[in-house]
């Protein structure tokens, strides 16, 4: 089987793949990075979102072989170097932006992509950007508060739903 090489969370990695190996499978089974969750596996839910060359991508909807040489960031790459929670992760904890936590890796990665593009988004921009990330638990309100807090804005000022 051919090997596919990428840079994942700053580390050069290589794993054997079939043609049909998805990026989600490459990360989870090939590299043991099980923080990336597969929810629907039909491109609908966003739980599997990772960054590919800085852009949000559904890892269940891209073939690993198509991403030879890419730089990928997963939820495992979001913590600080000392292992403590990164800013976005800490905001999700502080503002109870998760309940079961299944959607959270995708939410955090989409948030990272949003804030890289737009460091101080409005509430409406946050909701719009996270449209492809589905959460069955929270009702989204605390997720939006967490994103506002992670971008250094007042999370208390959100209108109640």
């Amino acid at each position: 089987m051919p090997k596919v090489t990428m840079k994942v969370n700053g580390r050069a990695v290589s794993a054997e793949t079939e043609g049909r190996t998805l990026l989600s499978g490459y990360l989870r089974e090939g590299l043991g990075l099980t923080g990336t969750h597969v929810g629907c596996d039909t491109s609908q839910c966003g739980a599997c979102v990772v960054l590919v060359d800085g852009q949000a991508v559904k890892s269940c909807t891209a073939f690993a072989a198509d991403l030879e040489g890419a730089e990928v960031t997963t939820i495992e790459g979001m913590a600080n170097p000392d292992g403590s929670l990164g800013v976005i992760q800490q905001a999700f904890q502080d503002y109870h932006g998760l309940q079961c936590g299944f959607c959270t890796p995708g939410m955090v990665m989409s948030t990272a992509a949003l804030l890289a593009e737009n460091p101080r988004p409005s509430e409406e921009e946050v909701r719009h950007y996270l449209e492809g990330n589905i959460c069955r638990c929270t009702g989204y309100q605390n997720i939006v508060r967490a994103v506002m807090a992670a971008s250094g804005q007042d999370a208390g000022a959100l209108a109640a739903e």
Binding site: R20, S43, F63, A113, G132
Partner: protein
């Protein structure tokens, strides 16, 4: 998903050669093809990725037209076409969600011709030209009904040439679960007249609304189509809307498009 041989050529010529090798299919952004391969609706033996072909990438202006490489993502079009053709860029920016727009491409959308997809409305509504590895096809001849196009076996779209409109807009009534258009209308005004293309409504896929085009060419004002209606005959019927509901939306979205056109 059935396994396949993956190839990633660097030129259109190499892609065409690879497609000629057997049960082969092109892969662009994969946002439609990968889910359908998972469902085993498609099972190519050879998958030919188009994402490494530089000559199929990017947005470039040439006089009064904008040429977009078929492998250009929706996100790139939303950004790079914004100053030259704001109505088209805004359509690309409304497709799916950010992750879909970062992978999904113009060529994949046009080749697929989903009856609820957004791009076919812009391609038909601007009278664009579809450029393939062998020929050029006018939009009016290209879309031939739901999921059906004029493309031959092994033929690939390399780009689309859009005549830049004086004013244009895409009005999309969102189907929030799929994120596709429940009904969407692209309106474009040219010196030669107005074109109106409707997606998401007809069982026969994207179509032009000739009566509205005539009325708007005479007077480019939302009121000009206020009294017009399309027949619900052969409109899509599903749990999201009846044929009558969609027929109604065609006029409403057309009027919203005219009001928003810039």
């Amino acid at each position: 998903m059935h396994n396949f041989e993956f190839v990633k050529p660097a030129s259109v010529a190499d892609a065409v050669a690879a497609l000629g090798r057997g049960e082969a299919q092109p892969l662009s952004g994969g946002q439609t093809l990968i889910p359908s391969m998972k469902a085993r609706l498609n099972a190519p033996e050879i998958l030919v990725s188009l994402t490494g072909i530089t000559e199929m990438q990017g947005v470039s202006r040439d006089g009064d037209s904008l040429t977009i490489g078929a492998a250009t993502t929706h996100a790139t079009v939303a950004r790079d076409a914004a100053s030259d053709f704001p109505g088209l860029a805004a359509l690309a920016g409304q497709i799916g969600d950010p992750a879909v727009r970062n992978r999904g491409t113009l060529g994949g959308s046009v080749a697929n011709n989903d009856p609820s997809a957004c791009y076919p409305a812009a391609v038909l509504g601007t009278g664009a030209t579809i450029v393939t590895n062998t020929r050029e096809i006018a939009a009016d001849d290209f879309f031939q009904g739901m999921f059906t196009t004029a493309l031959d076996e092994g033929e690939i779209i390399t780009g689309v040439r859009f005549p830049i409109a004086q004013a244009s807009a895409y009005a999309k009534f969102l189907q929030p679960a799929s994120r596709f258009a429940l009904t969407g209308v692209f309106v474009a005004k040219y010196a030669s007249g107005v074109r109106v293309a409707v997606t998401g409504a007809s069982e026969n896929g994207v179509f032009r609304w000739a009566e509205a085009e005539a009325a708007l060419s005479a007077q480019f004002d939302a009121e000009a189509v206020a009294g017009l209606s399309v027949s619900p005959h052969e409109m899509i019927s599903d749990l999201h809307g009846t044929p009558e509901y969609r027929a109604h939306l065609v006029r409403v979205m057309n009027q919203r498009g005219v009001r928003a056109a810039s």
